[in-house]
Symmetry: C2
Subunit: 348 residues, 2 copies
């Protein structure tokens, strides 16, 4: 990864040029840096939809203001604060034509697979991917993309209003799922997370319980102890075997387990509870028509931004104060925001 | 296991005494004999609902005629040919009160966990578990219990009419799922099964394709070759890892995988397709309100009994010509029916 000058993009017909205010660092970005290329197309292997290959501009969790617009753009106006749904799909496959465009096998994520990225001063995107966020703050805006992931995951389960839920894993997505479940009216939400630093944030996000799985002899005992062995829905946001197994133990007969975290390797699972309780285990990927509902929700329920944004840095600090800080296992960080114009960290 | 004289049961109030005509041997019975006790309560460990412990009378796939009825029985009459839904549940737990009585953790299966069994001349059961089958043959009747398992499994997926489906595993349940999918209007049904003997039956049961997974370099290639890599629903009836993985590969975005076979041990699974295609993986156990729909279906669509019933034996031949024949891996057998009155095998 390098910080470099690239040609400034200019808007063509139907596109919008955005001056980026903040861009969040996602776990996916870290994987690309430390273990990649994974989603980024390797040099010579151009992406089937965008034709791009490395180097690409990174960053897909961004917010900014409209700098200029191309011919034919009507809905979006200069100066609007906006976010972007950073995925394009082929529009022709079975997934796309059935409304599941997020499952399109040729889908391309902006900031990973071509089309620019949010870790830059400017980006140009198609108007239909742009959402106005009105008077929501830029920092709230920078969280809308991961909030859309959480919203889509919740939508794979039963109606949250009045539901009981357990969330395994208190990383950024797990914490956002906790907050959103409560904002959407869940009656009881419990976070299961070994890190004390992460558990301590759950209460400020509305969680009714935050449990340390290492403090109990088994997942079964932990859930029984907390009276949580029969919840309506469980979310696997940890990417570890024990968490997915815990979800299967936690839910009631006919309950739903939403698998949010991609583990990327085979998991050893005892599916007996899936059969005996006729559990629905369902996967979730990205978002589809979730950005506007998230924006509407943020207008009604204040997101405790300071609980989630733990550091703000400039682009020149990206690797040291950003990627390496997150990868060091420092659990005091949730989301680090990057400003493409700041040249010194605002806070450490 | 022993063949022995036990006291002849007599019907009390609200119960029905059935003279058994045929009782099928189920894979569960084999597991109890060769590896058990599993479901059968070990001596001294009485079942929480029935109070029974070993020895118990085996057999839960039975058909017979009504011999006599207890006081207050109105619906069932002497001489009726009947089958039994051989499970009782507690009626009080969250599963029972939500209509999922098949998921009751205290449920007891007749013929495994007390309440008599079908591998006997007579059995007495509560009237509400008894279903009249009219003029359906006794042999068709003996298949209604496994057909109810298949019907319930199909009910966990999308509406079968017009659907495309793959069934992994051509044992008795897999073959019955194939037949029932077609009877319920599925447009394309494919059986995946390494045994040629089992595959050969699939066509007679209505399957559009029967594929040998060992003849292809990978499940992906097999499904692609047959144009089956995007079906609406897949059924795992084999109890092996590769089959469940194959189901995840086979279904379309938003498709359903129904896990029918209990493997009883942890499986190593790559759940990446579950996430990227937002698949619903759902478990199924026994049946709940499935017997009457199965009986209604059997009145409309003739079941090719001779494709499924591969042997008829007397009770005195149970171990040698029944259990051992099935456990020997002889794939020419699907369902062996036992007559509690015959004393010599009718056919080999």
């Amino acid at each position: 990864m390098r910080i470099d000058w690239v040609p400034e993009p200019e808007p063509g017909p139907g596109t919008v040029k955005i001056a980026v205010e903040w861009c969040g660092i996602c776990g996916t970005d870290l994987h690309e840096y430390f273990d990649g290329p994974i989603f980024c197309p390797a040099p010579g292997k151009s992406h089937p939809l965008t034709g791009a290959s490395l180097p690409v501009v990174l960053g897909h969790e961004f917010v900014g203001t409209v700098h200029s617009v191309g011919e034919g753009v009507r809905r979006i106006r200069l100066g609007d604060r906006v976010v972007v749904e950073p995925r394009r799909s082929c529009g022709q496959c079975a997934a796309c034509t059935s409304g599941r465009y997020n499952c399109c096998p040729r889908a391309a994520t902006i900031g990973l697979q071509g089309g620019g990225g949010g870790l830059a001063q400017y980006i140009v995107v198609d108007e239909d991917l742009v959402f106005q966020i009105g008077d929501l703050s830029a920092e709230v805006g920078a969280l809308i993309e991961p909030l859309a992931v959480a919203h889509h995951a919740i939508g794979q389960g039963p109606r949250p209003q009045g539901a009981t839920a357990v969330v395994f894993g208190g990383g950024p997505i797990g914490l956002l799922v906790v907050w959103m479940l409560k904002a959407m009216g869940a009656s009881t939400v419990c976070l299961v997370e070994p890190s004390e630093a992460r558990r301590s944030r759950a209460g400020r996000l509305g969680a009714d319980h935050a449990l340390d799985p290492t403090a109990y002899p088994s997942t079964e005992r932990m859930l029984e102890y907390a009276g949580l062995s029969d919840v309506d829905v469980a979310f696997e946001c940890a990417g570890v075997e024990a968490a997915l197994q815990g979800c299967l133990i936690a839910v009631r007969p006919g309950g739903t387990v939403v698998n949010v975290a991609i583990s990327g390797r085979p998991l050893s699972l005892d599916l007996t509870p899936l059969l005996l309780k006729e559990i629905h285990l369902v996967g979730t990927i990205c978002y589809a028509n979730d950005h506007q509902p998230v924006i509407d929700l943020l207008r009604r329920y204040a997101l405790p931004v300071e609980t989630l944004v733990t550091k703000r840095i400039g682009l020149d600090q990206l690797v040291t104060a950003g990627f390496r800080a997150l990868a060091s296992g420092d659990e005091n960080h949730v989301k680090i925001l990057v400003s493409p114009t700041m040249t010194q960290p605002e806070s450490e």
